[in-house]
């Protein structure tokens, strides 16, 4: 039965891809914002099913990649303090700060805990009244309801030893920033399905109108992605710019109202620096005045930390246009997307990462052997 389903879905996928081929008469560039969608597109070969001219541009939807180095350093400084239990999701353990990472801080005696849910961190605060428990809350709108609930419960339970180191970033202001960039090439967006399961998609019609772009709320399955791309291409070909929902089984226009209510109670909009992109106005959430006492940055007042992008890195020159990425001595050697030395290699939209990923610095011969000769 399972194979029958897969076979049928395979047929539908082929049919959907054929429709995209029939509809597309011109090249189009479509950005999927979410890193999870990027994963699914690559794993399932969606981009290779598309006409040559339809290019998927991978957006800044990896919350860890866009977290500023200074905040990672601040997290490491707090985590190293005696009397602190520092809680994080597992994927932050090997994210490098200037000198170290959370896993190394643990090796030096720091009390680092990996939790499944922010509520686990609240529980640790209850069980360890003589310790300060800090939760590192990084993420987009999908993660925010969990962090909001943790701090809400900590306040309601009168916990004095729980705080949140928060760096929430928001999708709509990022779309606005990308579209406002003079170098922008993106012509349509696939909005991230799980972000919209929380926020709905009421924030998107003004963006679609302002920038004259189709925005399609899209899921993660191969069929979801193909359907999202298909709808975006149809709109582009017709010169339309509407917001469509291609993920109706999960996402409603209004979103999850219970979650939005608590988000509004706990957070307020703030400017945020995105690593590799810069400060985007009103692009994040921080704890508001009612919850400021639970802000780890307020509680720990960390100063004098030493944040430094690598001295080998010439990203400043690259950004000024003084050198091409491949002219930097560290490019492709000490510096790669997995071991970035600077902001322009961190974000996949950064100039160095783009050069690296697209292989523009390699000869045709090098390119042909790149899949095996080089591990990123």
């Amino acid at each position: 039965m399972k194979y029958l389903t897969e076979f049928r879905n395979g047929e539908i996928a082929q049919r959907m891809a054929r429709e995209i081929h029939q509809v597309a008469t011109r090249p189009w560039k479509i950005m999927e914002v979410c890193g999870g969608q990027t994963h699914s597109i690559i794993r399932n070969g969606i981009d290779q099913m598309l006409p040559e001219g339809i290019e998927m541009i991978h957006g800044p939807g990896c919350p860890v990649c866009v977290t500023p180095l200074a905040l990672i350093d601040k997290a490491l400084a707090i985590a190293a303090q005696p009397g602190v239990i520092f809680c994080s999701f597992g994927d932050m353990l090997r994210v490098p700060g200037t000198d170290s990472d959370l896993f190394q801080v643990k090796g030096c005696g720091g009390d680092i805990r990996v939790v499944y849910s922010p509520l686990d961190a609240v529980e640790l605060a209850v069980k360890n009244p003589d310790k300060q428990v800090v939760f590192f809350g990084v993420g987009f709108e999908t993660t925010a309801p969990a962090n909001a609930m943790s701090v809400h419960l900590a306040k309601r339970r009168g916990l004095k030893n729980f705080s949140l180191l928060v760096s929430h970033v928001l999708v709509p202001p990022a779309i606005e920033a990308i579209m406002s960039s003079p170098e922008n090439k993106v012509q349509a967006f696939l909005a991230a399905g799980h972000v919209c399961s929380v926020m709905g998609f009421w924030e998107y019609p003004p963006l679609a109108d302002k920038f004259q772009i189709p925005i399609v709320v899209t899921g993660f399955e191969p069929l979801d992605l193909l359907d999202g791309i298909r709808r975006a291409v149809i709109q582009l070909e017709k010169g339309e710019h509407r917001v469509e929902n291609a993920y109706e089984r999960i996402v409603t226009y209004a979103g999850n109202l219970q979650a939005q209510e608590l988000l509004a109670e706990v957070f307020e909009v703030t400017d945020r620096a995105w690593r590799g992109i810069g400060v985007i106005l009103n692009s994040g959430w921080r704890l508001n005045d009612h919850y400021r006492a639970f802000d780890a940055e307020e509680r720990f007042q960390i100063t004098g930390i030493h944040t430094e992008e690598s001295p080998l890195c010439k990203s400043g020159d690259v950004l000024r246009g003084a050198i091409k990425p491949a002219e930097c001595p560290a490019f492709g050697k000490e510096c790669s997307p997995r071991h970035p030395l600077g902001a322009t290699m961190v974000s996949s939209e950064g100039a160095c990462a783009a050069y690296f990923n697209y292989g523009r610095f390699m000869s045709a011969e090098d390119l042909a052997g790149a899949g095996t000769a080089r591990s990123l």
Partner: protein, 121 residues
Amino acid sequence: MCLAIPGRVEQITTDGDVRMGRVNFGGVVKSVCLDYVPEVGVGDYTIVHVGFALSKIDEQSALETLELFRKMGALDEELASEEEAFARAATAPQSVCPDGSCELTGKNLRSAKRARSESAQ
């Protein structure tokens, strides 16, 4: 990191005034906050992110998405125990891109380019 994993609600409990539930993700059972999904009951499927249910989902979609995320390796990452997370970190290289999408993107683009240039010849 922003993926919400589908699971089946097996039991509903309360923790003080918080509505909690035991949710089964293809064999791994976790304690999950159900406060944001009052419409979800025992036997229902819901998508869950970092211990919070966000939306109800039908069974077939849930099972298909679960299978996709399993293939992507996303289940291991989201549902790992603390011991598993530390064990993985002990051998993992430092990376600002823990989900590996940068690496995937690079490899794929190259293989796609190669395939296209070969087919053009």
